[in-house]
């Protein structure tokens, strides 16, 4: 199936619906603009064996809490907010998975240490007013850091615990539509299992990972920066509408050696130039095979981009396509609702600092 420009253009329509207060049960909740995202996940159209697409959710859960960390303990991975109003386990366990994001205070124009980095919450303590985090904290974060907490999206929240989105379910992952999430070394496959026994004795009906036909996968977290790869077998598209908070402020995503699949977390498009990749540590080279690479899915295959370092007569320095090493490709779009593959060929891991898109809300 050749790529259809109209289809590609219509894959995502993101609308800044209004500026509104975000509902929250916490007294310290902040306000965020909200957006309505429509994701159209293409089916095969009856002309191919399967249809692949790379998507991003493009909106976040509302802010559940915002505060200031009076004490930051890097070693213990804790943030203590003496003004906290939370109760035990408000942001973990039965309340669902939540995460902390370090943010820049309003009115501050210069970057603050660790801004945009995110951490899962392992424990929420009422008495000590402390959050214990899962991942190691950025060592540059200092006491007084401003942070906000949001709940994570899950597979069940986005696609419906009973597959209200309308994916093709089946008794086997190989005959069902698949949602694939990159784990750093391979894809983890999820699908909606329909128990073939009729009495729920063969694993039951519901969201499952390919690795277990009985474990409920509906609570699987979809991280804000997770790029989602869909592999549909059904002819028609799956259309998903999502109302959520617009991501504001810069974001920071770890880029590891090898392949990374990352979402455009903003509700607006960005370009290779505006993405901040090159200024974050993305390594260029004279040859596309030696440079770090950006891979964009075009509907049938990948378009590859790299940052060329060359004299003007040999193609010049700047973003280039693997199919044209002379034309400037810096304006190549990473649409809202899209995910990109970042291939780190050179050097050590780095954090991709993504500026807010659009710059002003």
């Amino acid at each position: 199936m050749p790529p259809s420009p109209a289809l590609l253009a219509a894959v995502v329509s993101a609308t800044l619906a209004c500026l509104a207060s975000v509902a929250s049960g916490q007294s310290q909740a902040a306000t965020d603009p909200v957006a309505f995202i429509s994701l159209s996940i293409p089916g095969t159209g009856g002309t191919a064996t399967n249809a692949i697409s790379f998507k991003a959710l493009g909106v976040l859960q509302p802010v559940s809490y915002q505060g200031s960390a009076d004490t930051v303990n890097i070693q213990a991975r804790t943030l203590t907010d003496t003004a906290a109003t939370w109760n035990d386990n408000d942001f973990n366990g039965a309340q669902g998975a939540h995460y902390v994001e370090i943010i820049r205070p309003a009115g501050v124009t210069a970057p603050v240490p660790g801004e945009g980095t995110t951490y899962d919450i392992a424990a929420t303590d009422k008495i000590s007013k402390t959050l214990t985090l899962v991942q190691p904290l950025d060592a540059t974060i200092v006491s007084g850091a401003l942070f906000r907490i949001r709940k994570h999206w899950t597979i069940g929240m986005i696609f419906g615990a009973n597959n209200s989105a309308g994916f093709l379910g089946s008794g086997s992952s190989s005959t069902a539509d698949q949602i694939q999430i990159w784990n750093g070394t391979s894809f983890t496959l999820y699908f909606f299992q329909i128990d073939p026994s009729g009495d729920q004795s063969l694993g039951g009906t519901g969201w499952r990972a390919q690795t277990s036909n009985s474990a409920d996968a509906s609570t699987t977290v979809i991280y804000p920066d997770d790029g989602l790869v869909f592999r549909l077998l059904q002819d028609g598209p799956v259309n998903i509408s999502l109302l959520g908070a617009v991501k504001t402020g810069p974001s920071s995503f770890p880029i590891s050696a090898g392949f990374n699949i990352l979402a455009n977390v903003y509700s607006a498009p960005m370009t290779l130039t505006s993405s901040g990749l090159q200024t974050s540590g993305f390594s260029g080279a004279a040859s596309p095979s030696e440079s770090d690479q950006i891979l964009l899915w075009n509907g049938t295959g990948y378009d590859t981009y790299f940052y060329q370092l060359a004299a003007p007569a040999l193609g010049g320095t700047g973003w280039r396509s693997a199919t044209d090493t002379y034309a400037d490709a810096g304006s190549t779009a990473i649409p809202a609702g899209a995910a990109v593959v970042v291939r780190r060929v050179q050097g050590s891991p780095f954090n991709w600092i993504v500026p807010q898109h659009p710059a002003a809300l």
Binding site: A286, S289, Y302, L309, A310, A313, L314, T323, D324
Partner: protein, 226 residues
């Protein structure tokens, strides 16, 4: 199936979805391109193919004069021409291209990537280039040394990116692992960059090859009589 219909079939295969993707190039930066045996840069329009061979490197080298035989043992992922991908100003000796192929029907997944380069008397289309080849070069880097030189599976498996520059190490020295199955590194340099080019080898015309073979047999017969 004649050659042209083969090319048409390959082209149709290339646009079926979802595909596997390979990016392949010899770009002005870093500067290693292709030369004719005369030492002149390979002209714009010359055919290049990316794929794999079903025969050993030894057999390829022994049959370098027999393009039909090599073609019968070649599985193609894509083709392009010198000058492709150099915006508005094609350069002799250089190209950059992306090819999509069906990894299932070609059974290329995990197999060695080869670059097969042609100098032909007629470059009207790939079929005529193949039929009128006067020089060829076959180059690759073993995927055991550079994993990018193995063909990837169909998407969502990630694409691979290879460049002829991968065969060259620091100080413009050819890497010891590089395979120049047919052709050489140098001696000529690129007219654009001054860097060493990869040089093709002459394909003797069938008549010449037969004369050479006949001469060898005659000499052998004389020696046996003595």
């Amino acid at each position: 199936m004649n050659q042209l219909s083969t090319w048409c079939a390959l082209a149709l295969t290339a646009i079926s979805a979802p595909a596997a993707t390979i990016n392949w190039s010899a770009t002005p930066a870093p500067g290693y391109g292709f030369d004719q045996t005369s030492g002149i840069d390979l002209p714009v329009g010359s055919l290049l193919r990316v794929g794999t061979f079903n025969i050993s490197d030894t057999l390829i080298a022994q049959n370098a004069f027999d393009v039909s035989y090599l073609n019968a043992n070649f599985v193609e992922a894509g083709f392009t021409t010198i000058g492709t991908g150099i915006a508005g100003n094609p350069k002799d000796g250089f190209f950059t291209a992306t090819s999509n192929y069906n990894a299932v029907t070609t059974a290329l997944t995990g197999r060695q990537v080869y670059l097969w380069v042609f100098k032909s008397s007629t470059d009207t289309n790939p079929g005529t280039s193949l039929a009128s080849a006067t020089e060829i070069g076959i180059f690759y880097m073993p995927f055991a040394d550079d994993p990018d030189w193995a063909f990837p599976a169909d998407a969502p498996a990630f694409p691979t990116t290879v460049a002829v520059a991968d065969l060259v190490g620091p100080s413009d020295v050819i890497r010891p692992q590089a395979k120049l199955v047919v052709g050489t590194y140098g001696p000529g340099n690129s007219g654009l960059t001054g860097k060493k080019n990869f040089t093709l080898s002459t394909v003797p015309e069938p008549g010449s090859a037969l004369l050479a073979l006949g001469g060898s047999l005659l000499l052998l017969a004389r020696r046996q009589r003595r």
